[in-house]
């Protein structure tokens, strides 16, 4: 369990990091290293050079504007997990983060690292796809922005090319009155890889009908998938209907099968968890709305 030899460099700026990555196509960016180092230890990855971007100030921090919450790629998962901005404006991500790895790996692991690693069962990519986040990739030529859905290509495979450095992710904010979210996951034990995970966010109109819904399913296919929920628009939250829509939206996904969970098991769990996540997001929306009113009156 020892990595093959490599060179190590710690650039002072993102521009310098991009230059180093561009100069050697077998160089890899390293941030928290919580996925890359195990791959190197098992010799599944053999970069010639590690370009350490973990301490680059440009890649750190959590900010927000009217439309989105932006998280720098090298922001640690533990920081996002405890960030008031994330809790206040991006509760779905706040609910997903405690499921990412273990507390010690979240202490080093970064938000961008999880996106770049693109494990099909990973929680942060799932939330990014569910909400339609934008992913900024920087290289010598400038910044390219990808839709999360286009960024993830397959298992551990993304749109990143040699010389690219994932620099930030921007999650859209839903600026409606009554929004709720829910995150559910099934794994062998908490903090192990998910067999299936579901991330949902719902907005209700003043009559309690669904005004908007987003659902992502992870662990089912070879990358996180966005489930089409447009059929729920204008409907009342109703288990039977939601179940139908989730089933219709997931049954064509080619499910993975491995020693721990078969494809048909994953399919069934995806429908169950997806339905539960959407229903719980509706309940959450109603609860938050009531809370907001109470505060408004008080």
């Amino acid at each position: 369990m020892k990595s093959a030899p490599f060179d190590y460099a710690r650039p002072e700026s993102l521009a310098e990091a991009c230059a180093m990555l561009a100069a050697d196509e077998d160089a890899r960016a390293i941030a928290g290293g919580q996925s890359l180092i195990p791959m190197m230890a098992m010799r599944l990855a053999r970069p010639t050079k590690l370009v350490d971007i973990y301490r680059l100030p440009e890649l750190h921090g959590i900010g927000s504007d009217e439309d989105s919450v932006t998280i720098g790629a090298a922001t640690r998962q533990v920081e996002a997990e405890h960030s008031p901005t994330v809790h206040g404006l991006l509760p779905l991500l706040a609910k997903a983060l405690p499921w990412v790895g273990h507390p010690p790996t979240r202490n080093r692991g970064t938000v961008g690292g999880s996106l770049a690693n693109a494990d099909p069962a990973a929680e942060i990519p799932l939330v990014a796809v569910a909400l339609g986040a934008k992913i900024d990739v920087t290289n010598l030529n400038g910044v390219t922005t990808y839709d999360a859905d286009d960024f993830f290509i397959g298992p551990m495979l993304t749109a990143l090319a040699p010389g690219d450095c994932l620099s930030a992710v921007r999650f859209p904010r839903w600026r409606r009155a009554c929004v709720g979210s829910a995150f559910h996951e099934v794994s062998a034990r908490r903090s192990d890889f998910a067999f299936v995970a579901a991330a949902a966010q719902v907005a209700l109109d003043p009559e309690g009908r669904i005004a908007g819904a987003a659902l992502g399913i992870g662990g089912l296919g070879d990358r996180p998938v966005h489930v089409d929920t447009t059929a729920l628009g204008g409907e009342r939250p109703q288990q039977l209907l939601i179940g139908e829509v989730v089933r219709a939206g997931t049954h064509e996904i080619e499910a993975m099968s491995d020693l721990q969970a078969s494809a048909s098991y994953r399919q069934r769990v995806a429908v169950g968890l997806g339905t539960r996540a959407l229903l719980d997001a509706c309940v959450d929306a109603v609860g938050r709305d009531a809370e907001a009113r109470r505060r408004g009156l008080a």
Partner: protein
């Protein structure tokens, strides 16, 4: 590559290959073998150390990345040579260890939890040690040890606080 690391309050230097993990550097170059090498790929938690007070896996960090942090290993938690700290004591008392392989990692993880949260619930404790595997104890006594250590620390802290209050009154 030359590295200078802050380990248990001392600056330690060595000339290391970049591929050497902090775990191997601690054990082979700095003689701190209390940090255990288990799976060496991030699964077991035997190699846990504290980085700026928070638990991290020493096998998932190259030593060349570790400068500038305050690193604490199991050798750094006892008050004096031959003595045990409160958490270590509690592990002995409740039989929170058998073979001892997981123990340094467990103790450091518990140590960090109690520094942050003096009133952990059982759930908090289980969550905190969820990344540390133990093949012997079945975890029951480990949880018990951490509960007991928490209790003791609360008593000690309360006494210290009372002591300070008294001094202030007198002074």
């Amino acid at each position: 590559m030359k590295v200078a690391l802050n380990i248990n309050g001392e600056t330690r230097t060595a000339d290391l290959e970049p591929r050497k993990t902090l775990l191997d550097a601690l054990r082979e170059d700095f003689g701190l073998v209390g940090t255990r090498a288990g799976c060496e790929h991030g699964v077991c938690g035997a190699c846990s150390v504290l980085i700026d007070g928070a638990p991290a896996r020493a096998c998932l960090l190259f030593a060349v990345q570790a400068d500038g942090y305050v690193i604490t290993t199991i050798e750094g938690v006892a008050p004096a040579p031959g003595e045990l700290n409160v958490v270590q004591d509690a592990f002995c008392e409740t039989h929170g260890l058998q073979c001892g392989y997981c123990t340094p990692g467990m103790i450091l993880t518990a140590h960090a939890l109690l520094a942050r949260n003096p009133h952990p619930t059982r759930h908090d404790i289980v969550q905190a040690i969820s990344g540390n595997l133990c093949r012997c104890t079945g975890y029951g006594q480990i949880v018990e040890a951490i509960e007991r250590a928490a209790e003791r620390l609360r008593v000690v802290n309360a006494q210290e606080a009372a002591g300070h209050a008294n001094e202030e009154e007198r002074g």
